[in-house]
């Protein structure tokens, strides 16, 4: 029994907890991508850098609050700064929409042109973030670091394995649940949400029934800015903030959105967790878990690692390829890519 509990704790500590936290961050990012795809009908490559921009704004406000001596006690101050960061990010995406995307929308430009345009926006945002906060690593997490540390858990449970749960991991999951619930309530219950879905399903029909397209587009951008900033801040709190890593996040985020089915919010969430869990479980060395579970005679001598951790990103690619080959619309029947 003790053996089994130890195995469970190891699994939770090194696989479940990191994968759930990472999956929540991916899901929030993928929701933003999928909303843009569903409603504005293009793949927004600038999403990673929108996240970086929102996070940067939040970090700057966090530093200001910290210098004033304000804090949330055990919680990170960044949560207090988050609303301001979201507002700044909203202002930015509305500005890029007005300055860039609206022109192409009015031209009824093909989605592929909008994709290229979004790559342009990505580079500009990329430069902007580096210009303001610098290309280096920034740390802005404060407050209590752990809900429970590995050592505390060991002392408390008497097991030989420890289980660490970081405050940021807890916050990530709780926030993700709240945000997703709020988003689904908004899309399913409110008038604006319904009009967004109608616009997504059939643009012409929606226009005929008197839905204001400018309003739908604006609300979409506002929601996307909110999602991007929350996802970015959670990721930055849990790991570290570095502009380049947000750019790299694009791949797993897009993989999540496509695996789940572009345009399907539920799919984005499922996709986020699928990608996160496969990245972590496939590159995890299962030796320790198996040593606890199996009888002595069967204990593995090797590491029981399917793939070296170097291939973490390759896992997202492979899943993406398999899904595109066998189910191009994604698991939740989104729009075909």
């Amino acid at each position: 029994m003790i053996e089994f509990l130890n195995a469970l704790v190891v699994l939770t500590n090194f696989v479940l907890v990191p994968a759930i936290a990472y999956g929540s961050q991916l899901a929030l990012g993928a929701l933003g991508v999928t909303l843009i795809y569903g409603i504005l009908r293009f793949s927004n490559f600038a999403h990673g850098d929108t996240m970086a921009f929102g996070t940067m704004a939040t970090i700057l406000v966090t530093w200001w609050l910290q210098s004033l001596g304000l804090s949330l006690g055990p919680l990170p101050t960044a949560l207090l700064a988050l609303p301001v960061g979201i507002l700044v990010c909203m202002a930015l995406v509305l500005f890029t929409d007005r300055a860039v995307y609206r022109f192409y929308r009015e031209q009824k430009a093909k989605p592929v042109i909008l994709v290229i345009v979004s790559i342009g926006v990505m580079f500009v945002l990329n430069g902007l973030v580096r210009f303001v906060i610098g290309p280096g690593e920034q740390r802005f997490a404060d407050g209590e670091r752990f809900i429970i540390t590995a050592r505390e858990f060991r002392d408390w449970s008497g097991l030989s394995e420890g289980l660490a749960l970081k405050t940021t991991q807890g916050i990530t999951v709780v926030t993700a649940v709240i945000v997703v619930a709020a988003l689904f309530w908004f899309l399913g219950r409110t008038r604006t949400g319904k009009s967004m879905r109608a616009y997504s399903d059939n643009e012409d029909l929606a226009l005929l029934s008197g839905i204001n397209p400018d309003r739908v587009v604006m609300v979409t951008w506002l929601i996307v800015a909110g999602l991007a900033t929350i996802a970015g801040v959670l990721y930055g709190l849990d790991k570290t903030f570095k502009p380049f890593t947000y750019f790299q996040l694009l791949l797993p985020i897009f993989a999540s959105a496509i695996v789940g089915g572009l345009g399907s919010p539920l799919g984005a969430i499922a996709g986020g967790f699928i990608i996160a869990f496969s990245e972590v479980t496939i590159t995890y060395a299962w030796k320790k878990v198996l040593v606890y579970l199996l009888p002595d005679a069967l204990e593995p001598s090797g590491l029981v690692q399917l793939l070296s951790t170097d291939y973490k990103f390759a896992v997202s690619f492979v899943i993406l390829l398999i899904v595109l080959l066998f189910r191009p619309t994604g698991l939740f029947r989104g729009k075909s890519v």
Partner: protein
């Protein structure tokens, strides 16, 4: 006209060889352009310090003057470095080469210029383990330790601390891989076990997957052969957070006071090694260099001074500036037994050698040439105590 040209050429050649009779020329081939261009001027300055000291003493080979000749190795372009080395040997007629700096171009100059022409080379800064086994006909020496040496040192430190099983995480490049391999070989030769040796990519935000694999393999300590400003710190962070490891071994790339800021007392009990010496010669050289307007604390200045000094002392010991004559003397003057020689004492050393007394050149970097003529290297062992880096001792 043709005849005139030929005569001038012959005259010029004659003049050249007449000059060379009382001049000893030392080629200094370093990457004055390229990735090391910020430290090479100081390295050349260090070498020239030794050359001037010898030249001014007037004691080398009955009063020969020593002239430095600089050439650009570029650090990365093997073809350009070979051409520059060729020029030093054939057109400048140097008697020995101090250089090159980077391991790649050093190998190229050695294979294409030094070995075919029988020229002695002493590199102050090439650390690649591959140069230990290269075919050099006894012409190549270095005052910098091979990276393989640090593996042995770390293995010794682990043994002294009673740690027998370790996991290794290295940064995914030649430095990390080479160091990890040498640590693994040394630890296993000493009877310890390396549970896993795996790479991490620099510049990632999250290393929990890497640490998961390392933790599963287990071990008493985690060796992080990476960079302090890059993924190395991320690996430590993730390992501390998940409680996977609490003791870390940090080689030279991980040495930095930034660790104190980032981790503080969380790293207590962790330890590492970094090149360094407590030799009194090091301080003497820094003072001499500062007086000459050179940054004495810059990287490899001490090794450069020592490389040039060794060339000249070996010439004195052989009584000849021909590479074929003095190549066998380099190890003799560098190693015990004999009178220890520190920077600023080159004149005295020349006298001793001329009188037939054995010398042991210690120099600024505690030179001790081992194996195929490379520095044994001295390392400083440090550990974390109350969140601060403290020196334990020198090895």
């Amino acid at each position: 006209m043709k005849k005139f040209l030929a005569t001038t050429a012959i005259l010029a050649l004659g003049a050249g060889s007449a000059m060379a009779a009382d001049d000893v020329k030392i080629g200094i081939i370093l990457g004055f352009t390229g990735p090391l261009e910020s430290i090479t001027p100081h390295m050349a300055g260090g070498a020239e310090l030794a050359i001037n000291e010898v030249s001014e003493s007037g004691k080398l080979l009955d009063g020969a003057t020593v002239v430095p000749v600089r050439a650009d190795s570029t650090c990365i372009d093997a073809a350009a470095a070979t051409a520059a080395g060729e020029r030093l040997v054939t057109s400048d007629g140097v008697n020995g080469i101090m250089g090159a700096d980077c391991s790649g171009v050093t190998g190229a100059v050695l294979a294409n210029v030094a070995v075919p022409n029988g020229m002695v080379m002493i590199s102050p800064s090439a650390t690649s383990p591959a140069l230990s086994t290269v075919e050099d006909n006894g012409l190549f020496f270095r005052t910098a330790p091979s990276d393989a040496r640090q593996g042995e040192i770390i293995s010794d430190v682990l043994k002294d601390r009673g740690i027998t099983s370790v996991a290794i995480s290295y940064t995914n490049n030649d430095y990390g891989k080479g160091l990890a391999d040498s640590i693994k070989a040394s630890v296993e030769a000493a009877g310890g076990t390396v549970t896993i040796s795996t790479a991490h990519e620099d510049g990632k935000a999250d290393y929990s997957a890497e640490v998961g694999a390392l933790a599963s393999a287990g071990g008493d300590a985690l060796i992080v052969a990476g960079y302090v400003d890059q993924g190395g710190s991320g690996v430590i962070r993730a390992a501390l957070d998940t409680g996977a490891f609490s003791t870390f071994v940090l080689p030279d790339g991980m040495y930095g006071t930034v660790l104190e800021e980032k981790f503080g007392s969380e790293l207590d009990g962790s330890f590492g090694t970094v090149p360094g010496t407590d030799s009194p010669g090091g301080n003497t050289l820094v003072e001499m260099a500062d007086a000459a307007g050179i940054e004495g604390t810059s990287s490899f200045v001490a090794e450069s001074y020592d490389a040039a000094a060794l060339l000249l002392l070996a010439m004195q010991a052989a009584g000849s500036s021909a590479p074929a004559d003095y190549m066998g003397k380099v190890m003799d003057v560098a190693n015990a037994p004999g009178e220890p020689i520190y920077p600023g004492e080159l004149g005295k050393a020349l006298d001793l050698v001329a009188a037939g007394t054995d010398i042991d050149y210690v120099g600024a970097s505690s030179v001790e040439l081992i194996g195929p003529g490379e520095s044994a290297g001295s390392f400083r062992e440090y550990e974390f105590k109350d969140g601060k880096i403290t020196t334990v001792g020198y090895r």
